[in-house]
Symmetry: C2
Subunit: 244 residues, 2 copies
């Protein structure tokens, strides 16, 4: 007679081992890019709040700084009088806050700065992981676009099995289904729209660049998945030739 | 002949001074409560991400901790083997992550912890500001509900001019307008629903408690705005008498 209980335990153990073994670089990459995107959103929301709050103290700063990160930095590093002097403003509409009322605002700004640092270090980690896991895709697409493509496909394995035309449209699913359903214009590019080689060309050539880039990524993903050589520089050169 | 340019400058100066003088405790309170609510949302989102990520390492932890804050604390303070031992689990489905892959996860957890600290210190600041600005409303309603009422009205001045029935329904605007438009049930309470004296009673008496509490808040807001004495303890006693 079989020992069913022991057999069951053995099965459970094997299943758990399989789950454990399935965890790898793909998971780290997808989680990192998810977190980077989330942090970006969170930071934007909190900077909005900070601006509203700091405006009680020095509303003049708001209009003079466009970039959120420099705004936070200025709030943390400059005194109000330096800011006003720099803006050539000799009368601020902001109140003279007491130490105790200014402190929570500055503490908020410091928190946001630490979120920026967190995001930056996460990007470094993502870059390293991508470079090891899929060097060719990484070199061709860059960190963020590469990671988004990989997430869009599901894993490097799945990415390596996609057609070039699918890679070209990853990230444009909404527009694609709108095209299929309503006959609207078909999309020409997804995530790779933000690639310098696609962004850099005039709007009539964007579709063409996207197609050629997707062709090369199609090769790169296969080479990466089957642990081939580093051929990205060669691919990049061919790519640039074709785009001339 | 008038010096129009000088007159214009003088006018501008006066206007700016008026703007500056209008900034006060009301603004600090509204900004603090807005930020606390925002931080709460942000933390919840990031904890969700952290859980997904940490599950690669120790998925067993997820189900055993209900509260987000203790989850983050456990991730930061306990080793994986301690966690498994505590859960009486001798085989984890999570992968054995390398130092370099675990580090960004822990760094994320540390960031979330600092957001919790930020929120806690902001609550302390809000409490202090409320206690100074409107001691009676603060004592009756508590920090968070008091601040929300003040924000709902716009300022302490405006709160002191509202009717008790309006105070009772602050925060239930959506339900109120639905009632007016479609004839749905009228709401019985807004922000004050979460007050212990309203939460603590059975559902048949909730409306009554809310009404009596709003009556007392109506008095408290007026006393606070006109810088009267501290009568909140007396009001609270009357309130508790009535609710018996």
């Amino acid at each position: 007679m079989y020992d069913l209980k022991a057999l069951r335990l053995k099965n459970l153990q094997t299943a758990k081992e399989k789950v454990r073994e399935s965890i790898g670089a793909d998971n780290f990459i997808v989680n990192s890019i998810n977190n980077i995107e989330e942090l970006e959103k969170v930071i934007n929301t909190l900077v909005g709040r900070l601006k509203e709050w700091y405006a009680l103290y020095a509303p003049e700063l708001q209009r003079s700084v466009e970039d959120n990160e420099s705004y936070v930095k200025l709030v943390l590093t400059k005194q109000k009088k330096d800011i006003l002097e720099h803006l050539r403003n000799n009368f601020s509409m902001g109140a003279d806050l007491k130490e105790e009322d200014l402190k929570p605002i500055l503490s908020m700004a410091a928190t946001i700065r630490s979120l920026y640092e967190e995001m930056a270090s996460l990007e470094v980690y993502l870059e390293k992981t991508m470079e090891k896991h899929c060097p060719n895709v990484f070199r061709l697409a860059g960190t963020l676009i590469g990671a988004k493509l990989l997430r869009g496909a599901g894993s490097l394995k799945k990415l390596s099995m996609l057609r070039a035309s699918t890679i070209q449209l990853l990230g444009a699913e909404k527009a694609l289904f709108r095209h299929i359903k309503t006959g609207a214009k078909s999309p020409k590019y997804g995530f790779i729209l933000h690639h310098p080689l696609v962004q850099g060309v005039g709007s009539t050539n964007k579709g063409k660049s996207a197609r050629i880039l997707a062709d090369k990524l199609f090769i790169a993903a296969k080479v990466d998945y089957f642990k081939g050589d580093f051929i990205a520089d060669k691919l990049l050169k061919e790519l640039e030739e074709k785009l001339k």
